[in-house]
Symmetry: C2
Subunit: 414 residues, 2 copies
């Protein structure tokens, strides 16, 4: 990869072995040369699974496959490839999924529907699944509980650094671990960024409990982040619980208070892993030079606050101003107003880096730009917006919009 | 202005005198030096008015003023300034509007509420309305029915060319004229683009009929265009009818078939003027190198088609691909899917410049990229999307997303 590493990159944390998970990566030559591009993950027989997927109405074939497979609630394996997204490939796309899952299932001795699939890369080209299938036996032989970094690197497209996170949580007296890897949103010409995220825990969890926690957690992490407002056809977050940890049984059935209490610390740790990975993706956003956090308070509801925060996070004019290190609160006011949510110009306050700049419908009297200018020169920018209407709060994250974004996305396919 | 003229610029058409309209421009030094920045327009006493304004929830003080003034349905004058948007200026903003309108009303011998106001430029700085008021007597003395180009130039901010359009229409046996000027969406650091449009006709029209036609016409023109998805706090389209033409009386009251028939040709010409001006604004979009037209057909409804067209028009990944002259239909599929409207991957067709590239969930067999590559090199790019679901149709227009956009919007305020 010739692209320089993002200035916002963080080091991959140590991801220790997690009981019931073995991983391997290989170079199958799907599109890239001289690097790994296929990852296989084996999961213990008792593994349960939850997943959330892109809201794009034209999803890739692997998304369709996973949505169906998820109904079974069980997982024995995952096969992921980089370089070809298997999107808009018609019948051939479906067939590639079936062939890959069947081949992996045979090696893992499980039904095909317990193999989960994800692909990222070019759109509209038929996935050469023969190469993928041919790589599987070699991958199986290499499976190792220490190959987390290999897996994190094998799913990268034009990501400039591998992404991982790990936390521990208490369930009763037992400590369980949650580890995850993710890729995105570097670009591979000519495609949109795809975000893939795979999270594993040794806890033993009913699929419905996982699905509830995962949905909530992604709403507060990945779904609060944006690089460029374009929603990939392949976004995937999968959570696997291998059930290898010894802790009190978690009952099935939602709305169970005892269960919620038992899983409170687990949900906290899961949220942390999801947010950690989501922010790593934003740190690797195309052309990103600054990580931007937008805190909205005083909205009529939390939902309204989130919409306002995302409108600011998606505003090209706010993002180019941040790239230019310009604390342009006029553009922030504009973006708040265009969100379509309840807002009153004369009750609105806008601040950057802890300094309020605009309040009560005008600039703060005696506003001194000095600390704000200093804050804008840093790698992390914090914007605060108080709508002054209610108690709704939300936070969104994005990156700035730079020439790098145009360079990456405006070049002709070669 | 150091900015080079847009490669998509068109020449200002000859705008002949229009009975009941006199115009003048002057240099009041509001922000710019060495150019005109204030425009005054005098309208005949019987003039009726209609208007549509920004949907932004944090509008500028002149928008509030116009919304109130519009309730009277009558107009005698318009005062427009460039260089300061009078947005987020609190009580001072309101006072600037009142003072300006009162001063103009005194000169024009009319109630202040018959003076319409528009401002474009920097946000959050108090408008030095004393300069504006001081310029009005001189402007009044210069009023001239031939000063259309002066007016079109006087409202520019970082527009690279003046914008105007004119058409004639028949009402009964009488020929009436519709002429308009517009500005946008060049940027003035550090503000968002503002689109202002003023249209005049010598027809004699009830305000309610004008409002209906204007709303419909803007929905099909300005509201189908986008440069960067950011909605200004100051967008304004005003239509004035001076009533100087001699034609059969147009009755008041909506839903009147006889009236609709009488105004059919007028509505056609008005739509043409609105679309002509809207496309001139897109041609002057920040950094624009290509004008892009997106035709969506086969949607379940016209509304759904418009949402899909706008999702494609607002997609940074589609727009950067066009800047790179890349007919990247994968990104178009992505943008269709993210619109959230009914879409079926397997029924979708995508074409560029008259060549279908993708159809039935995959690339068209034997697809030859040659004519598409040639089309992408031109200044005008046409994208066709057939959803294959129903009979809903819509068209949207945008420009490409280039380094010029980042240059214009990412530079620090100086």
């Amino acid at each position: 990869m010739a692209t320089p590493v993002s200035p916002l990159a963080v080091a991959l944390p140590d991801l220790p072995p997690l009981a019931g998970v073995r991983l391997a990566a290989a170079a199958a030559g799907i599109r890239y040369q001289g690097r790994t591009d296929v990852v296989m993950i084996e999961l213990a027989p008792s593994t349960t699974v939850a997943g959330v997927f892109t809201s794009n109405k034209c999803p890739g074939a692997p998304i369709d496959w996973c949505r169906t497979a998820l109904k079974g609630g069980k997982a024995r394996g995952v096969v992921i490839n980089a370089g070809n997204a298997n999107v808009f490939t018609g019948k051939a796309g479906e067939q590639a999924c079936v062939a890959t899952a069947q081949a992996a299932a045979k090696l893992l001795d499980c039904p095909a529907k317990q193999v989960f699939l994800a692909s990222t890369g070019v759109i509209g080209e038929v996935l050469p699944h023969q190469k993928l299938v041919a790589a599987l036996p070699g991958l199986q032989k290499k499976l190792d509980d220490g190959a987390w970094e290999d897996a994190a690197r094998g799913i990268m497209t034009t990501d400039t650094f591998p992404k991982g996170a790990t936390r521990t949580a208490q369930i009763g007296e037992t400590t369980v671990r949650i580890s995850g890897i993710a890729k995105g949103s570097g670009m591979i010409a000519p495609d949109m960024a795809t975000m893939l995220c795979f999270i594993f825990t040794d806890a033993k969890l009913p699929a419905d409990a996982m699905q509830t926690m995962l949905r909530k957690g992604t709403d507060r992490s990945f779904n609060c982040t944006t690089v460029d407002s374009d929603t990939s056809t392949s976004d995937t977050v999968l959570l696997f619980a291998t059930g290898q940890a010894k802790h009190p049984r978690i009952p099935s059935g939602d709305g169970n208070n005892a269960r919620n209490r038992m899983l409170k610390d687990f949900a906290r740790a899961l949220d942390e892993v999801l947010l950690d990975l989501a922010l790593q993706v934003i740190r690797d956003g195309e052309g990103a030079q600054k990580l931007v956090r937008i805190d909205v308070s005083g909205a009529v509801t939390a939902k309204s606050a989130k919409r306002v925060a995302m409108a600011v996070a998606n505003s090209p004019l706010v993002k180019t101003a941040i790239a230019g290190e310009d604390a342009n609160w006029g553009r922030i006011v504009m973006a708040v107003g265009k969100a379509g949510e309840p807002a009153d110009r004369d009750k609105l306050s806008v601040g950057v880096g802890g300094t309020w700049m605009a309040r009560d419908g005008g600039v703060v009297p005696g506003y001194d730009e000095t600390p704000v200018v200093a804050h804008m020169k840093g790698k992390e920018v914090e914007i605060a917006i108080d709508l002054g209407l209610g108690r709704g709060k939300a936070t969104a994250w994005t990156c700035d919009l730079t020439h790098g974004y145009i360079d990456i996305n405006g070049s002709y396919r070669s």
